[in-house]
Amino acid sequence: MVVQFLFNGLVQASIVILGAIGINLLYGVKKFANFAHGDMMTLGAYFTFVFLGGTRDLLTAAIWAVFVVALAGVVQEVLIYARLENRGPVAPLVASIGVSLVMQNSLTTYFGPAFLSYGIRYPDNWVFFGGAISNTPIRDLVPMAVAASATTATVVLLKYTKLGKAMRATADNRDLARVSGVNTRVVYWMTWILAGVLASLSGSVLGVSVGTLAPSMGATLLLTMFAAVIVGGIGSTTGAILGSLVVGLSQSLFFLVSLVSGLDPRWQIAVPFALLVATLLVKPTGLVGRPIGGEIRPLRTEIAEMLKGIRRGLF
């Protein structure tokens, strides 16, 4: 029984992981939290639908969609984010909220608010390990397969290619990288392209897994993806992967626990959010993250000082 829920947790993690890696890349290289990332996923899902009309082959459609989303990323960079480079982390964040509104509602305007579907016929359940794990093959296994391969490809790219090294150098210290000969503009473009590719794939996968497309499908996952990134450790791809696993498994295990113990299972939606907040409070750098600048003193000290301050400072 537990194994089934662990499996479900892995499936959930698979859906989130590619988006989380993308968010993490953008945060590491461009230093901002992209609130439009969920909508990039939705864009990928919808364009897969569009191209499906032409090719009738889901895989080809998904690949064409990737081009669209990657392009969308570069366009955003050129029009918006390149101009916000030295304005701190808040300006691009607000801009990304604007982008999110534009993207999501443009899709709704064009396609209408009703649900769409890829029209896949899902085969009957497969059963593994003598009944321990039951799954709907396409719905559950496709996300895992895509997640595994795309994640591996990304990790290889980041670790072993020249581009990957350039991206990591820029993330570590932009000015130093520039001075060392890295063309940061190209790095930014490639980061957006990579993040766009991953987002589009995960959007298509989400469409397959859930079965229906809605304009808010990606945005609904945004907080979960942020939770994965922060829990794992911002600025680290390993962190994004680890965080996605933790978040996916925790959510699934909570569901299991709630069924058994009588807690309200509806709360499972809040599990990633709770993990996110807990991480920010206890260890803001996450499980594997690099230290952020400045000192963050322990919570106890802060509270103690606050109480002292209140006693003296109120009047």
Binding site: P291, G309, F315
Partner: protein, 251 residues
């Protein structure tokens, strides 16, 4: 009397030890210079004294009272103040407001009293404005009092840094490169102001790279290198000290 004592203080960031078992003292009413090559840990030491960072080990004592580990607002309350190496003015506030906001213990900084708009609060405000304008006159920034501070030149911003700490009426003032990048006339003005203030009882601890300033104006000089104090004494003694020469030329 020893106003400030730093005793065996160390501070590391990540794997790097910025300050390493540093021990020094500053006497009341003196002007002490802190010199050393870049990366010697001088600014970090200042940040430790003012409470921005807490030392990993060691003690910092001010007026016979331990202050290490206290937050800055408690340390400032006891009569310490520090400027920044690169001026950090509050850009959207005017020059006058920059100075006034730096004053400590203002009753008006409570939301309740501000809301009530008590006469007591605004009488103090008027007095503070007078004091601040006088201070600006002393420093030479009077005409710019109502100018947004973002419009100031680099040298003027340095002056503003000084005005901000002076309005706090501290006993010990930590100045991080008070005349770096400032033209000679202005430098002279700042330095003679420091001398005047010292005569009226204040103590200055300053980081400087300009050796003329250090050797002509300071009563004592402390030299840091790689986080440690490697020499201290009167300017003439330190100038000839072999370890000092080596740290600047060699290491």
């Amino acid at each position: 009397m020893l106003l400030l004592e730093v005793d065996g203080v160390s501070k590391s960031f990540g794997g790097i030890r910025a300050v390493d078992k540093c021990t020094l003292a500053v006497e009341a009413g003196s002007i002490v210079g802190l010199i050393g090559p870049n990366g010697a840990g001088k600014t970090t030491l200042f940040n430790l004294v003012i409470g921005t960072y807490a030392p990993d080990v060691g003690r910092i004592v001010f007026r016979d009272e331990r202050i290490d580990g206290l937050p800055p607002y408690e340390i400032v309350e006891r009569g310490l103040a520090k400027t920044f190496q690169i001026p950090r003015e509050f850009r959207s506030l005017t020059v006058l407001e920059n100075v006034m906001v730096s004053a400590r213990g203002e009753p008006g900084e409570s939301p309740v009293l501000s809301l009530l708009g008590l006469r007591r609060v605004w009488r103090r405000e008027e007095e503070l404005e007078r004091q601040s304008r006088d201070l600006l006159a002393l420093i030479g920034l009077s005409e710019l009092a109502d100018e947004p501070s973002r419009n100031l030149s680099g040298g003027q911003k340095k002056l503003l840094e000084l005005a901000r700490v002076l309005v706090m009426d501290p006993s010990l003032i930590l100045l991080d490169e008070p005349v770096a990048g400032v033209n000679p006339t202005l430098s002279l003005k700042i330095l003679s102001l420091i001398e005047d203030l010292r005569k009226s009882g204040k103590t200055f601890f300053l980081i400087e790279h300009d050796m003329n300033v250090v050797f002509n104006r300071c009563d004592r000089v402390i030299v840091m290198h790689q986080g440690r104090v490697i020499a201290e004494g009167k300017p003439a003694e330190v100038r000839a000290h072999p370890a000092v020469l080596e740290s600047y030329l060699g290491g």
